[in-house]
Symmetry: C2
Subunit: 234 residues, 2 copies
Amino acid sequence: MQRKRTVRTVSIAEVDCAACPSAGRCWGELRLPIEGLRGRRAAVLERGEPLLRQGERTGTVYMVVNGCLILRESLTNGAQRVAGLSLPGELLGIEGYARGEHPCTAQAATEVSVCRLNLAAPGSGQASAALLERLLMKYAMQLERVAPPWAGLSAVERVVAFIENYASRAHVSRAPDGLFSLPLTRADIGSYLGLAPETVVRALGQLSGERRLSVHGRTIRLSELQPASVSPAA
Amino acid sequence: MQRKRTVRTVSIAEVDCAACPSAGRCWGELRLPIEGLRGRRAAVLERGEPLLRQGERTGTVYMVVNGCLILRESLTNGAQRVAGLSLPGELLGIEGYARGEHPCTAQAATEVSVCRLNLAAPGSGQASAALLERLLMKYAMQLERVAPPWAGLSAVERVVAFIENYASRAHVSRAPDGLFSLPLTRADIGSYLGLAPETVVRALGQLSGERRLSVHGRTIRLSELQPASVSPAA
DNA sequence: CGGCCACTTGAAAACCTTCAACCTATGTGG
DNA sequence: CCACATAGGTTGAAGGTTTTCAAGTGGCCG
């Protein structure tokens, strides 16, 4: 993004949330006491610098204090997309904490400062209930702010993505006959994917013609065929 | 959905996760011990029955044990859309726990059984750290499964929704001059919204012409005008 | 049987993307 | 200081995809 980059040395300091002027934005909406909460003001990033990289295996969780980060995701077909934004008062890195690997790269869009939270390793039982409860609530509030896996795909690929997502979440075994039932009307599928019901019908028809799946009403069988490669963007 | 409905009386029983055959699906992927976890097998719902209603003010959190629920959301313009699905092993109702109000209705798409979790009221400090940690991780893993607020909107309305979402998250004051800077390129906005960069440009131009906002480069001012009403669907 | 609902199909219209060109601001090197 | 390169932004026209509208089918249930 930038040719030259002055790698600024950053002061890392322990911060008591009770004394931090940004605490209202970080914890205030939750109407919970903040006594005892501490963060580690970990970094001030310049525009363009990454804080987390996709695939990284750290479980560090951050609270954004100032600035804006862009969440970028590399798709399996090589394309990239913007998966979301992180703004002041929002958590960053919980996915890495939960699954052990970050799903996307977080890159500073402006100058950014963040706090690293004192969250013990998963399963160690060290993290406090008070902090965990705040994290859970915080995270629940920002849930709606991430792009879905089918953003930017064509109608046919959206339907494929939806069906495969459903199949994996519903624990459908893909072998040997792999039949399963999708308990939704075409209209519901369309509403979820942002498509007209007729478009869902036509997409299923096309996929059926290409032998990527077979459809009889709401019963579906996925073929072993790979999802057709999508033309990579940029 | 169904004309008549036999409201079945449901056995509510305490369930110890350690003895429940579904526990692997509920907690298994997390590689954490499940000793001491208990749920209350709260309900078996028939197809069509709602478990939670949009706007309801309960903080109950459920784990889906079997079946499929559709999350339906009523938009401010009266339209409805499907916001997501809840499948076995997934949490339901955390938004209600966090914000005190459920953002959408959860309706059974098949016969459904759920467990109610023993989660104390927010702020009471009663919930155990172990349960909270599991909930946090569980929730982080299902984060990507919800439709974004702009799904199904036209390009212009997507851009409006994005800008308003950004403005509220970035704590932009809309008065008196309400100028703010969007630290993203048109290409980034388009990538996030699933639009071509040119389409973002044209949408901004159109909104500017309609006086719904003013744009100078990345500096934006929102007008006081309401977002134009969208034709309600069904 | 008649009504309702989900599903399907076809044709026209609306919308969005693509491609190509051009513009502007910024930064670099001569 | 100027020429040039680069990146972001803007505009027009063509083409493709999706939506809309309209009509018709089949299953289920009173």
